[in-house]
Amino acid sequence: MHLTLHLTDRCNLACRYCYARHGTSDMSVETALCAIEECTAGESNAGIIFFGGEPLLRMDAIFEIIDECERRRPLAFHYKVTTNGTLVTPEFLSRARARRLHVALSCDGLPSAHDRHRVREDGSGSSPEALRALGLLLADQPYAPVMMTVNHDTVEDYADGVAYLCSCGAKYVISTVNFQADWDEAARRRLWKEYKRLADWYLDAYRREEKIYFAAFDKRIATRIWPGRGASCQLGRRQVSVAPDGTYYPCVQFVGRAGYELGRVGQGLDVTRRTCMFERNERAKPLCAGCALEGRCNNRCGCLNISTMGTLDEVPPFFCEHERFLFPLVDRLAERLYAERNALFLQRHYNPAFPIASILEDILT
C-alpha cells in the first residue's frame, strides 16, 4: 500500500500545465500520522509519498513524520518525495539520506523547454534551480528518478531533453506526455518523430552498455515480458491520496474533485466506496473492445481518464493514437535488441536480480 500525503497545496512555482489546485492549506503532522495509521493497519510494509504543491515547503514536517513512522516498526516503511528542486540543498539531502528518503526531481529536460512552463509567479524560468538540484541530487542519490513533462509546445525538445538529462548523469527518466494539452496534427507528428529519435538513442545506449531507464519504453516492454503486469491502475487499491484537509482520494489527480472522496482521516477509509470505484475503473472500456493491445495499454489509468475526459469510463482519443504508435515502435526496438542478444537488455528486462547487480557493479567498479 502506498499513501500519498499532499502535505500542502502551496507551491513556490506557477507551472503553466500544473493540474493541482493551489491554495494555502497545509496538512498537520497529526493528520498525516493518523492517515498512516488508518491505511497501514494489517500491512507488513507501506510506502509513504510526500507530495504537494511543493512538499519541501514542509521539509520539517516530512522528517518529523518519517521519524515517527520509524518508531512504529516492525512495519517496514519506504519514503519518497517529488520536488521541483528549488529547495533542495546539501543539508536537506543529508537529512534525507539519513532517513532513506528517496527524492524524485521534476525537470523538463533542456533549460529552454523547462522554462517554458516551469516558471515562478513572475513568469521567469526555474531551470537554474532545477539543474542545480539535479547535480546535487545525483551526486547524493545516483538512481534518483527525473520526472519530465512533455507538452505540445516543447515536444521538439523531447529527445534532446532526455539525452541532456542523461548527459547530466540521470539514469532514470520518467517522461509523461501532457494529454490535456492541445496536440494538433503538427505537434503529434513531431511527437512520433521524437519517439523515433529516442528509439535510436535507446538502441545506441544499450549497444554501448550504458545503463538507462526510460519509462516510456521500458514500461511498455515490461507489459510484453511480464504478462498481466502494469496494465491495471489498481485505482485506490495500490495507493491512496490524502488531501491537506485530510480527505482521502483514490489518486493524485482526483484530489479536490467532488464526488471522488473516499472518506476522511479520523473517520477511516471508506473501503466499500473504494472497491466500487476500483471495480468501475477495471470494467472494460466499451470503445476499446477487441483491441489487440488490451492488457498492455494503460487505458485504465484513472488519473489520465478523469483529467482528460472527466470520467473513468472513457479514454482520450489522443492517448489511443499515442499507444497505437508507441507500442509497435517499442516492440520493434525490443525485438532488435533481443535478436542481437544484447546482454544488458536481457539482464535488465528478464533478470529480477538486475537492480541489485547494477548497484553491486556501481559499488565494486
Partner: protein, 322 residues
C-alpha cells in the same frame, strides 16, 4: 483510411503482430546467462548472476498464473526470428517449398528529411495488416498469425558479423570498399499473417522490415537528416529470400509493401479549394496527409488484387477459392 477517424476517436487495434521477443516464461537459460561486458571484470557478478537469475525468475513467475513454470529450451540466435509465442502460434511449418510473389503497385520509394520535397506517407504495419485482412476476408479467406518458417535466406547484419568475430570488422570495410555482396544465410522467419492451414502466408514490408532486407553500405552507419526508403526493392529481395526455400510442399507467400504514396498536387489543391477558405500550412499539411493515406490504401488494395489475379492466372484454384 481517414486520418480524421484516426485522430479523433478511440480506435481498437484489431490486428497486432505478436512481438518477436520472449515473455518471461519463454526466455531460455542461455539468454539469461549472457552478461554485459562491463560486468566481466566483476567476478562476484559473473559467477552468481546466471544462477540467481534463473531461480529468481522462477520465483517471480510463481505469482503469475498465466505463465507456465517450465521455461522452454533456448533457441538459436538469429536476428528477426524469435521463436513463436506459446499463446497464439501454431507449430512451426516444416517441409514446405515456396511460391512467393511480390505484388506490385506503387513505387514504394521515397525520402523524408530536410531537403525531401513532397515526402510520402508511411502506412504503418498495424494499419496495413488490417487492410490486408479485410481484403482477404472479402474473398472468403480468414487470416491468422503466421507460423514461423525455416530456410529463408536473408542478409546477415553487420552487427551479427561483428558479434561472431570482432576481427571481421576489417573484412566488412573491405567488402564495402569493393562493392561485394553482403553475406546471406538461411534462417527462421516469422511472417505477418497466414491461413489457418498454413498453405498461404503474407508478409508486409514496413519501414523496419526494409532495413532488414536492404543492407546498403551507402546508408548504414551514415547519420543524415534525410532518410531514404525503397520498399519495393526490399519486397523483391524478400521474395528472393523466401524463394531460397527448396523442400516440401508449396506454400503461397504474398509479399506486399508500403506503397509510400504521395498525394498528387492537383488532388490536394482540389480538396483545399473545396473547403472554401484560406488554410494555414498546418491545415494544408493535414489535407495532404489525408490524401496520401487514402492513396496508400488504394495502392495496397491494388497490390492485393494483383496477387489474386496472379494466383488465378497460375491456375491456383485452391488459392482463389480458399
Amino acid at each position: 483510411m481517414m486520418a480524421k477517424a484516426m485522430n479523433d476517436e478511440v480506435r481498437p487495434l484489431r490486428k497486432y503482430k505478436t512481438p518477436r521477443y520472449p515473455t518471461i516464461s519463454e526466455i531460455g537459460e542461455a539468454d539469461l546467462s549472457r552478461i554485459p561486458a562491463r560486468w566481466s571484470g566483476v567476478r562476484v557478478l559473473t559467477s552468481t548472476l546466471g544462477a540467481v537469475a534463473m531461480s529468481l525468475k522462477s520465483l517471480a513467475m510463481d505469482g503469475d498464473a498465466e505463465s507456465p513454470k517450465t521455461p522452454p529450451a533456448p533457441t538459436a540466435v538469429v536476428p528477426n526470428a524469435a521463436k513463436p509465442s506459446a499463446e497464439k502460434r501454431e507449430a512451426p511449418v516444416t517441409d514446405v517449398c515456396p511460391l512467393p510473389l511480390a505484388a506490385l503497385a506503387g513505387n514504394g520509394a521515397g525520402a523524408f528529411g530536410c531537403v525531401a520535397m513532397n515526402p510520402p506517407v508511411m502506412l504503418p504495419e498495424a494499419e496495413a495488416l488490417e487492410i490486408i485482412e479485410r481484403e482477404f476476408k472479402k474473398r472468403g479467406i480468414d487470416l491468422v498469425d503466421a507460423p514461423e518458417i525455416d530456410g529463408v535466406e536473408a542478409p546477415v547484419s553487420e552487427l551479427e558479423e561483428k558479434q561472431k568475430n570482432p576481427h571481421l570488422v576489417a573484412n566488412i570495410l573491405l567488402r564495402r570498399k569493393f562493392g561485394e555482396e553482403e553475406i546471406r544465410k538461411k534462417r527462421k522467419w516469422m511472417l505477418d499473417l497466414g491461413t489457418k492451414d498454413g498453405s498461404m502466408m503474407i508478409e508486409y514490408i514496413s519501414d523496419d522490415d526494409e532495413r532488414c532486407w536492404i543492407r546498403d553500405p551507402e546508408r548504414d552507419g551514415i547519420y543524415s537528416s534525410v532518410s531514404g526508403y525503397s520498399m519495393r526493392r526490399a519486397a523483391e529481395l524478400a521474395v528472393k529470400g523466401f524463394s531460397a526455400r527448396t523442400e516440401g510442399r508449396p506454400v503461397k507467400i504474398g509479399v506486399f509493401y508500403d506503397p509510400m504514396a504521395s498525394a498528387p498536387k492537383d488532388v490536394v489543391e482540389k480538396r483545399i479549394k473545396a473547403t472554401g477558405r484560406k488554410l494555414d500550412w498546418r491545415e494544408r499539411s493535414e489535407i495532404e496527409d489525408k490524401c496520401g493515406r487514402e492513396l496508400a490504401e488504394q495502392k495496397l488494395v491494388a497490390q492485393i488484387e494483383h496477387f489474386f489475379d496472379y494466383m488465378a492466372r497460375r491456375n491456383a484454384p485452391d488459392a482463389a477459392s480458399h
